[in-house]
């Protein structure tokens, strides 16, 4: 009995020692891991984008630059970056839509511009990709316009203003503006359509009031499904949300209104505190390479930012691949928008709650 008790004491000690070793090991593991190949920590989308990045583009980058690519595809990126230390940020390269990049830049979380000397492919991008409306560089864009059902006999639609036609009451689709980039961009478009310009919020609010009844969703994916199911007949949507069903014989089509299409940019920025800046710049440059741009553009139906990209005919016909097509893009002043976001959110919530 005494022997057994003694052995119990010993095993308890062993247990505690093992537990302490494990704890130290677990705490030390990240530091040990850092001793290996450099790690580039980025954010990225899921869906088909994530699939092709994981299967082809990511591994090719790792192989060429002898590094490890660590992709966080779990939202929300900005609060995580905000919560991490400025000198040791959780990401080296931040990939989000333009509105979030502006918010990040305002907080000093990302560098406002990418250096063309370190990213040579910047020389080949369309002007919109590095315009004063962009923080960092836009590597792709989608066109926000109208999505419609082609089997409902709506006829030809050419203008944004047709969304206000009473015949779409009950089948009109829009977004929860405070949480959706498309909804926010559309609000600015309302100012342009019915007022003095993007910043004419009063005109935009009046137009939104008149848009009711409208079915609103928070995710763009949900709008795609509502359009596919016929629950919505005419809605605000980005072209890739329609074109991705190409070849599936769906009765839907994308309309680029005559007033222009809004741009929904995929933007890359580098964090100031990144310890692997050379690698971060190399990644941005890599993502702008024509072959990488072509592969991704033809996978997810995004318009490439690099002018030198030659897409297959099917994609070339629909995406923004010429200076003429690109000139129809309307960029949103996200800096201006973000400064007023709280006020806008409150107002649009009141409009749609009613």
């Amino acid at each position: 009995m005494m022997k057994a008790l003694g052995s119990t004491r010993l095993s308890r000690r062993r247990f505690l020692a093992a537990g302490a070793s494990l704890a130290i090991g677990a705490i030390a593991a990240p530091h040990v891991a850092r001793a290996d190949d450099p790690v580039l920590r980025i954010t990225g989308w899921g869906g088909k984008w994530g699939d092709v990045m994981k299967a082809e583009i990511g591994p090719a980058f790792e192989s060429e630059f002898k590094c490890k690519l660590q992709t966080d595809s779990a939202f929300p990126y900005l609060p995580k970056l905000q919560a991490s230390s400025r000198s040791a940020p959780i990401y080296d390269v931040l990939h989000t839509n333009s509105n979030e990049q502006w918010a990040a830049a305002e907080m000093g979380l990302v560098e406002p511009k990418v250096d063309p000397k370190l990213v040579p492919n910047l020389a080949d991008v369309y002007p919109y990709a590095v315009s004063d409306k962009i923080v960092g560089v836009s590597i792709f864009t989608s066109a926000i316009g109208l999505g419609m059902r082609t089997d409902k006999g709506y006829g030809s639609i050419t203008s944004w203003k047709e969304l206000w036609d009473a015949k779409y009451n009950g089948v009109r689709g829009g977004y929860v503006i405070p949480v959706n980039s498309l909804g926010q961009a559309f609000l600015m478009m309302c100012g342009t359509l019915f007022g003095k310009g993007q910043t004419d919020l009063d005109a935009a609010y009046t137009a939104l009031e008149k848009l009711k009844p409208i079915k609103i969703v928070d995710f763009t994916g949900a709008m795609e499904k509502m359009l596919l199911s016929g629950e919505v007949g005419l809605c605000v949507i980005h072209d890739s949300g329609i074109y991705r069903y190409d070849g599936q014989n769906q009765p839907t089509d994308f309309i680029a209104p005559s007033e222009g299409v809004l741009s929904l940019e995929q933007v890359l920025t580098i964090t100031p505190g990144s310890k692997v800046k050379e690698l971060a710049n190399a990644y941005v440059n890599y993502m702008l390479r024509p072959e990488v741009q072509k592969r991704l553009a033809e996978t997810v139906w995004y318009s490439p930012a690099n002018r030198k990209v030659k897409l297959d005919a099917k994609y070339d016909a629909k995406l923004l691949t010429t200076p003429e097509k690109v000139s129809k893009l309307i960029q949103v002043d996200w800096k201006w928008y973000n400064e007023r976001k709280d006020e806008i959110d409150q107002r649009v919530n009141r409009i749609f709650r009613a």
């Binding site: 677990a26 705490i27 593991a29 990240p30 920590r41 989308w45 899921g46 869906g47 088909k48 984008w49 660590q70 992709t71 966080d72 595809s73 779990a74 939202f75 929300p76 609060p79 995580k80 919560a83 991490s84 230390s85 040791a88 959780i90 995710f219 763009t220 994916g221 949900a222 795609e224 499904k225 509502m226 596919l228 199911s229």
Partner: protein, 294 residues
């Protein structure tokens, strides 16, 4: 004695009349009682429908072959289940969620039961305050708990390790184990332990052979809650999952931002079935039914 109603018609008639008189008020009393039972039954059915209808909608969505929610469904198909089980991301997330839930269940059960014992027995100063503090993760929005833990890990420069995720889940599941164990300890007869000690049992033996079997119902109930809450945990995981190691709820959330098809429904059905299997498994292995009054 030998007189019968058949032999005495007038007596029979009197008895029938008396019986009718007696029956009338009885019938009046039974009627409302029956009525009340029907209302009770209807309310229970309504509650069951309220609880189960969302599950039914998820099952319909998972079995409907169209890539969007459609009612009535156009057919029955297993295509979304095939897609779910063929997806490496979903399978990894499912396995990882189970792993985290199991570790969480073990840690929350050991810590929660020990804490409950200490609180109930330890004569600790400020025991009530400690109980409130231990239950506080239930009162705090879980997303804030996740964010706070994330910031703590960042400050400690440990990244987002799996043990950090388990610690986060343990934090939010601990109150369930503490609460359910405290509930059984409330009616615990201390004389049973004293008897064991008087008969020569060591403290350890007393604990394992007397105390633990008696508090087992509360500990098991807490463990089941811990497993289910951890397996379905989203807000805390949102900040604590590391790249390549996402839990199933986080993977589902990311997926539905890009693809809102029946795979979400299929994943939800698998999730519900797994939670159900855990309860059934515990019932079969440790005789849950005899311990836990759920």
């Amino acid at each position: 004695m030998g007189t019968s109603a058949a032999h005495n018609p007038s007596l029979a008639s009197d008895r029938e009349a008396a019986s009718r008189q007696a029956a009338a008020p009885a019938h009046a009393a039974v009627g409302p009682r029956h009525y009340g039972r029907y209302v009770y039954l209807a309310i229970n059915i309504a509650i069951l429908i309220f609880l189960l209808a969302p599950i039914a909608v998820v099952v319909v969505f998972a079995l409907n072959p169209t890539p969007f929610i459609q009612f009535p469904p156009v057919g029955v198909s297993l295509r979304w289940f095939e897609k779910f089980f063929a997806s490496r991301d979903f399978m990894h997330a499912l396995g990882f969620s189970l792993e985290v839930a199991l570790f969480t269940t073990v840690s929350a059960t050991i810590l929660g039961a020990s804490a409950a014992l200490a609180l109930a027995r330890g004569n600790l100063p400020g025991a009530r305050l400690i109980v409130v503090v231990m239950l506080s993760p239930l009162m705090l929005p879980a997303i804030l708990t996740g964010l706070a833990l994330f910031q703590t890990y960042v400050l400690l420069d440990v990244g987002r390790p799996t043990w950090g995720l388990v610690a986060g889940h343990t934090l939010v599941t601990l109150p369930y184990v503490v609460r359910t164990t405290l509930a059984v300890l409330h009616n615990f007869d201390l004389r049973l332990e004293e008897a064991a000690r008087n008969l020569g049992a060591s403290p350890a033996r007393t604990f394992f052979e007397v105390t633990l079997p008696l508090i087992k119902p509360g500990v098991l109930a807490g463990a089941i809650f811990a497993f289910i809450v951890s397996f379905d945990q989203f807000p805390v995981s949102l900040f604590l999952v590391s790249p390549g190691n996402e839990t199933l709820p986080v993977t589902l959330f990311n997926y539905l931002k890009f693809d809102l098809d029946g795979t979400i429904g299929a994943a939800s059905v698998v999730s519900i079935v797994l939670a159900f299997l855990v309860v059934i498994g515990l019932d079969r292995t440790v005789g849950l039914r005899s311990y836990v009054k759920l």
